[in-house]
Amino acid sequence: MTISTPRVGVITFPGSLDDRDALRAVETMGGEGVALWHADHDLRGVDAVVLPGGFSYGDYLRCGAIAGHAPILDDVRSFAERGGPVLGICNGFQILCEAGLLPGALIRNASLRFVCVDVFCRVETSQTPVTSELVAGEVVQIPVKHGEGQYVATAEQLRRIEDEGLVVFRYVEAGGDVSESANPNGSVDNIAGVCNGAGNVVGLMPHPEHAVDPDVGPTGGQPLFASLLTSALAGASA
């Protein structure tokens, strides 16, 4: 077999907004974007799954709560159990937390306001499908845009998250230092993204799909998608 193009599925839930953007980012970075639908029990044989940003079900009740019960989540869960790479961006992160695939939860920003701004994120581990082409300590610039991005967890959960090295990204200054002013939403310990115990399911609040095209934003999302495509390809050929 010749080298194939990795196929990355992007799930559209009712109220998903950045689904087209995620598909475009996958294609910009050389992958094949595959549109998936929340109500189908079908991942169409993709090599990686992205849960995009937006306001699924209006984010009514709690963000991600209703989408966390969508039929396709069963398939995402078994895909993840088999080790398939799964990336939740913003609302997708919230959905993965609500569905119990990631630890912790996201609540309203400390400011109680929506915030749209470019932030810097420090990579805390390269042992995930979206950071495999980065090294820990590297800083990438990516925008956030959310009203409910404050990462919280109980003290006990937090200990586990830190002990097991499940933090994938932290909000930092451009130079890489953790600070209060670098934190756009009040997240505990400046956590911007986490992974599951196995490391193959990652969620983050910043939007890497809005950071691949230099004409419309920063480019810190490129290595994340490059990593995801590499991981997807590895999974596909495995």
Partner: protein, 736 residues
């Protein structure tokens, strides 16, 4: 307390004459439901009865215009077979009562207008006016309106890329909340009255949200009369926006159109079902049989007149051939939307409405939609104020120039609005080359090198002093904001915000403003493709400033040639293009430093303006400009300082002028811009300016952390940037 009951028609907002007119049309007394329908459709908001004769004088034709006024939105040709569909609308009245929901539902309404043309909404802009932030209620209104616009716009996936905010005492009781939406469609797939042919027997299908008692009387009471004290009873219930439902409505509607399943599409806005059904039928030259029992209701026990005039949000009405009905149902259900067949098109022009199996209305559809009365209301120029100051430029100024600059930089009108636009998603859809913070937002046309350049501008302070000039300036500034990015202005939409049209002074302001819009649009070749009139923005006898807000759409042939507003690097030559005259009337300096809103606004020579814009556009396409920023509020000094703050590079300039320093710095003479030119392009740029007859004065150079006005004063970029950024948060009581 009045003991005599007002007759029903008056309570609904119809005059005695208008009531007689309904009797003449029908040849009998109208039934209660009919009266409610006429009251809604003949309201000022729906019928434009006071503004129509004036609006007719606006220029509406031009090479790029695909759809002019009269449809849900206008459209211009933006190349490659694409159309930009755009319109602006106000939701000021509801926002004054409940700012979050009022603004949110305002976004929802204008977005549906764009969708009903078959276009995908791609950008929102929100021009706003409030009273001063020193007043707690104004702060509450601002915070609520901004949160509402963000809460709705962010949730439907349409980026909010620009807007403006101005503050003035007369807007204290009546904030102005306008929202502009821009959409994209294939030019040959636009949904207009002319593009689709409904058939007799085709069905009117209502889809989206259920119908409740929301906003009943919204158009006839709230937006078409001045509410006095104790008017709580008259107020319709507040509409709660459901942006999630709107998002589904957008996707379902665009899919229905793409699949060719529709014979017509209309949003439900003011006057609800009555408006949508009567206009759709009248447009098709037909009548309709409407069955109110088929309308899905949110509340039990609604009367026919309530169902007919409910303004429940997030609903659309489509015309569907019976053979396509099941497919329409399937598309809507996939998006989680319920549909209901509520009417059928019939021959003749009659609209028959049944409720509980009985006929409750039988009227000619066109009498509702097209035959409202038209008024030429009396106009009267206000008497000259005895204490008026002729010309603030003649007043002596002995203060410190740097302090004056700080005062203007931190004046709420000039200060950074980052606090506002940080709350808006400007990135979704991935086409935003320049969002808020740029003179005009620049949004790419997917799959092409082209981009739209979008700006909204209102010049309330100038309008208060001279409504004719104020309106002209609004058009000129909007066009200039588009031109500084390198884009060619194509056409405008507008929202005309005024007081009570039954007062001759207000009607005079309105007529003068229209005259100004007309003259400027003709000269700048930017026809009017549509708009919205918001009257009755007053309380007691104090009206808002007459404020026509202009929404300009321009086209950039190659977005990579977009010119930024900030100085991008050191070592650029700084030029002022255009000429400075002693014009401080209605200026930011006069208000912020002298405490005066007085004098004559700056003159506007439309020929100079054209030349200036031609220079900006040609220089951009020749790629000889590194930055360009128009001189607007606060004049040359502010244009320079903003260019430095935005780009992060300081400058040293010498302002050589015969004018007193403060006048040279802060005069708001029109038709000027500050540009940054790389040394290797200076000769070409100067030659181009010469050939177009635009004066270009070399003021100095960019570079370093300092801001130097040689012979006057100096400071740093970071100092003024902090002043500029912190002003609004400080007024809102936030730690900065």
């Amino acid at each position: 307390m009045s003991s005599v009951e007002e007759p029903r028609h008056r309570r609904l907002g119809l005059t005695d004459d208008e009531y007689e007119r309904t009797r003449t049309t029908l040849g009998r007394d109208p039934r209660p439901a009919e009266l409610a329908m006429y009251a809604a459709m003949w309201s000022e908001h729906c019928s434009y009865k006071s503004s129509k004769i004036h609006l007719r004088t606006l220029p509406t034709e031009g090479a790029s215009v695909l759809v002019g006024p009269g449809q849900d939105a206008g459209a211009v040709d933006v190349g490659d077979g694409m159309a930009a569909v755009f319109k602006m609308e106000s939701h000021s009245h509801p926002s004054a009562i409940e700012p979050y929901q009022g603004a949110a539902t305002g976004v929802g309404g204008i977005v549906r207008d764009i969708v009903s043309m078959g276009a995908r909404p791609v950008a929102l802009l929100d021009p706003l006016m409030f009273g001063p932030l020193t007043d707690a209620r104004n702060r509450w209104l601002l915070e609520g309106v901004v949160a509402g616009i963000g809460g709705y716009g962010n949730c439907i996936g349409v980026p909010t890329v620009g807007g403006e905010i101005r503050f003035a005492e007369p807007h204290t009781a009546n904030p102005t909340v306008d929202v502009m939406c821009v959409g994209l469609a294939d030019a040959d797939e636009l949904v207009t009255g002319a593009s689709l042919t409904p058939h007799v027997g085709s069905l009117m299908v209502l889809y989206g949200a259920t119908t409740g008692r929301d906003g009943i009387g919204g158009v006839s009471v709230l937006a078409s009369a001045t509410l006095g004290d104790g008017s709580e009873q008259a107020r319709p219930s507040v509409q709660i926006g459901d942006p999630f439902a709107e998002k589904l409505l957008i996707e379902a509607s665009l899919e229905l159109i793409a699949r060719g399943l529709l014979e017509g599409l209309q949003d439900l806005g003011g006057a609800g079902i009555t408006c949508a059904v009567s206009e759709s039928a009248a447009r098709a030259g037909m009548g309709a049989r409407l069955d109110l029992d088929a309308v899905p209701l949110r509340e039990p026990g609604m009367e026919a007149s309530e169902i007919l005039t409910s303004e429940s949000q997030e609903r659309m009405l489509s015309i569907v051939h019976p053979s396509a009905l099941e497919e329409v149902r399937a598309v809507c259900e996939r998006w989680g939307l319920q549909i209901a067949v509520i009417a059928e098109l019939v021959e003749g022009g009659g609209l028959t409405v049944t409720h509980h199996g009985e006929v409750v209305a039988e009227v000619p559809a066109a009498s509702l939609a097209d035959e409202a009365p038209v008024y030429d209301r009396p106009r009267e120029a206000p008497a000259a104020r005895p204490d008026a100051v002729d010309d603030p430029a003649l007043l002596p100024f002995e203060g410190d120039l740097l302090d004056a600059l700080r005062a203007v930089v931190s004046a709420p009108n000039v200060a950074s609005k980052r606090w506002v636009w940080r709350q808006y998603d400007s990135l979704v859809q991935g086409q935003t080359v320049a969002g808020a913070g740029s003179d005009a937002a620049v949004v790419r046309l997917p799959g092409t090198m082209r981009a739209l350049a979008l700006s909204t501008d209102g010049k309330g302070r100038y309008g208060a002093l001279d409504p004719y000039l104020g309106a002209m300036h609004a058009v000129a500034e909007a066009a200039r904001n588009v031109a500084v990015t390198g884009a060619r202005p194509l056409a405008i939409t507008n929202c005309l915000n005024f007081g009570d049209p039954e007062r001759p002074v207000v009607m005079w302001q309105f007529a003068e403003s229209i005259r100004g819009l007309r003259d400027a649009c003709l000269a700048l070749e930017t026809p009017v493709t549509g708009g919205n009139v918001s009257f009755y923005n007053e309380s007691g006898d104090s009206a808002i400033w007459p404020t026509p807000v202009v929404g300009m759409v321009g086209l950039l042939e190659d977005y990579r040639l977009r010119v930024p507003s900030g100085f991008p690097q050191a070592g650029l030559a700084v030029y002022l293009i255009g000429e400075t005259f002693p014009e401080l009337g209605g200026s930011e300096f006069a208000e912020a430093v002298l405490g005066l809103v007085d004098g004559e606004p700056p003159a506007l020579d439309l020929e100079r303006e054209r030349a200036l814009q031609a220079l900006l556009i040609e220089a951009a396409s020749a790629d000889v400009l590194s930055s360009a920023h128009d001189c607007g509020d606060g004049g040359l000094a502010i244009a320079l300082v903003e260019s430095a703050i935005e780009g992060g590079h300081g400058f040293a300039v010498t302002i050589a002028s015969d004018l007193p320093d403060h006048v040279a710095l802060f005069s708001e003479s029109a038709s000027r811009a500050v540009v940054g030119v790389a040394p290797e392009h200076e000769a070409a740029f100067v030659a181009l300016a010469d050939s177009l007859g635009v004066p270009a004065s070399r003021l100095g150079e960019t570079g370093g952390p300092r801001i130097v006005f040689a012979g006057m004063f100096e400071t740093t970029v970071s100092e003024l940037s902090a002043v500029h950024e912190s002003a609004i948060p400080r007024l809102l009581g936030e730690a900065v």
